[in-house]
Symmetry: C2
Subunit: 393 residues, 2 copies
């Protein structure tokens, strides 16, 4: 508090009072977040277009509640995707249309076809995606693809909800621009999170919605963020000022960029990724034709394709008998594809555990193949996806 | 953390880790809240029936999302009522039916008639009320009335959502039991808050739902709290562990009762109430026939009836010209009644300011009466209710 008071020129008593009272619905650190976005993401927006939320999840709850007419408007989602968005859409009665993702993420041509098809049945309001180091696929589309995606959505008047919790965890040098940073037409609503850059227990995220409410012909002068603020006030009133203050303190301390905080974490996670990729190359050396995977350029996840179905039963067998937890990709899927894929999580697992885990996974795969499992293998009964992030362990 | 570790026997490293990670959806302090409820509210429930929420507002968001079929199920609300529940119902497309409140709060006969009438148009799922020191009316029904209300709702299979942020602020000795504490049939869902007992900036509340899911004939074995936990996980994932830890620390420190924390606040607020009532008696002495009010037995609010309409214009005039902010009761009303009433807030205003405020209000009333304002006075145009709690100031 003393540091905040000194750096901001606000009296310490007022800082304390602000932390103890309800405070502004949209939060008390929007200016600091705006500076962070400018420095770290090349996103330049007015602080008034930012709504601080109880994690990225509340940002999604606000957007689906505030922007969609339940039972009518449609949300397109890249498929597979984060189950927090599809679960939320289900309980809020927002219609969801899956758009299959490929090896490089969303394909603008597929998106356009999906928009056109879906538009026959109602209004397509938005498409949700995690472009950077996608969960669960680890993909990261090229700049050209991003520009095409923006163009498609602009032409069809469909908003893009860009969820970016992993963007700062790029392990190669050429980090690609967020959609928001190259959005010339105000078509992108951006969701940010401090769960990965700082820590999850903070529960601080935010949304950026600098669009004006209304159609192009009839602008109201009010930003979408201001309109969504009314929704936020009815869901949580405001984000606990104390946890906002922790984020604000860090952003004041570092001068606005999170780079000094993220750099050491990124180095650790990159080591984990490299360890995982090396272990896979070594342990699956003789199974190169049956098992494939791709090394993600950033983020927390690596997708892998097996020569047999992998569902809840296999998850259980792997965990109990082989000491490794991996997540069936189908848990993240709306359409019944990718039944042979799994998602490996490497962020929070140390290198020794990663090597042990990959050994266990390879043993499981070999045993299953020896037992005659093939692509036409029995399908495990589908069950509800689990909320937990499953890790090689 | 050290104190928590010592008192709970949990290793300090684990306490830190729990605070930094996502943690359990339903929270980490349910056992401490259960003990607080047993000690302070005579409510005895298993910790598994408690969901810790981001303030009482998120509890409402979870209940309306999880228990209501949008566009079909109906929520009855005491009218006037807290605008956070009616605003939320509006954005979630939950049908709301106002039940007029009287001088002693909800009248069970009126509730029964409303249930019967509304049931012709759909399912009445629940009724929302703040029985103790109602916001905005300050009412607190008798025990007999409470028992009748429980009986009516039981017979019609309507849940009661009891919102109790003010219950511990009883200024007379005979505090009445919460509905939940005398609910023999498991018909009450309880919402608690630490905003008033501790401080608002915490944003920690909770709901208690120990009912089993399903009808009486087909119980599923799962509590409603467990089912609502899935909704909570999709709205905010979990309540920030750090702010839960502050509440938990206080509850460990005091041995579970909030009485040592509340007692001094209660004494201060009682002084404010007494000051307000005395000031009204003195300043409105010659207007006893035109102006009426009742002294609340607890809580933060005193309702007052004027001999003319009081709306947004009068609110503005009072604030600008007479230095006092009072809230038109119509801001809290769904039905267009109580146009002559105002709500005075006295909790956060010191005695001198209360006396000045009442003087200002009396001057305003006299000037309006001298200018010929009467019951048939011009109606101010209705505007949206304001979120802010307005105080004599």
């Amino acid at each position: 508090v003393a540091a905040t008071a000194e750096r901001t020129g606000v009296a310490p008593e007022r800082v304390w009072r602000d932390l103890g009272q309800y405070g502004r619905t949209n939060g008390i650190i929007a200016d600091l977040i705006a500076r962070h976005l400018a420095l770290d993401e090349d996103i330049h927006v007015d602080p008034s277009s930012i709504v601080v939320t109880v994690g990225a999840q509340e940002a999604m709850a606000i957007l689906l509640t505030g922007l969609f007419e339940p039972g009518r408007d449609m949300l397109l989602v890249s498929d597979p995707t984060y189950i927090g968005i599809t679960g939320l859409a289900r309980i809020l009665n927002v219609r969801v249309v899956p758009v299959p993702s490929g090896d490089s993420g969303l394909d603008p041509a597929v998106v356009e076809r999906s928009i056109v098809d879906a538009s026959r049945h109602g209004r397509v309001r938005a498409i949700y995606d995690i472009p950077d180091f996608n969960n669960p696929l680890g993909t990261s589309p090229s700049v050209a693809t991003r520009l095409k995606l923006l163009d498609v959505c602009r032409r069809h008047d469909v908003l893009i909800i860009e969820d970016n919790p992993y963007g700062m965890f790029a392990y190669e040098h050429e980090r690609r621009p967020t959609l928001k940073s190259i959005d010339a037409d105000g078509n992108v609503i951006y969701i940010g999170s401090f769960a990965k850059t700082l820590f999850p227990g903070l529960r601080v995220g935010y949304l950026v919605a600098d669009q004006e409410v209304g159609s192009n012909s009839a602008k109201s002068g009010e930003t979408v963020a201001a309109a969504l603020s009314r929704v936020k006030s009815l869901i949580t009133v405001n984000t606990p000022p104390l946890v906002q203050a922790i984020v604000g303190g860090v952003l004041l301390e570092t001068g606005g960029s999170l780079e000094p905080i993220v750099a050491p974490k990124r180095a650790v996670y990159k080591t984990h990724r490299d360890t995982l990729v090396a272990a896979l190359a070594s342990e699956f050396h003789d199974l190169r034709h049956e098992v494939t995977w791709s090394s993600p350029a950033g983020g927390f996840f690596l997708p892998m394709t097996l020569p047999f179905h992998f569902g809840p039963q296999e998850l259980r067998r792997c965990a109990l008998d082989y000491g490794v937890i991996v997540c069936p990709m189908r848990f993240f899927c709306l359409d019944a594809v990718r039944t042979n894929q799994i998602r490996l999580s490497f962020s929070y697992v140390d290198p020794d555990a990663i090597r042990r885990g990959v050994k266990g996974l390879a043993a499981f795969v070999r045993d299953r193949l020896a037992a005659g499992a093939g692509d036409s293998d029995r399908r495990s009964s589908a069950t509800d996806p689990t909320e937990a992030s499953l890790a090689v362990a």
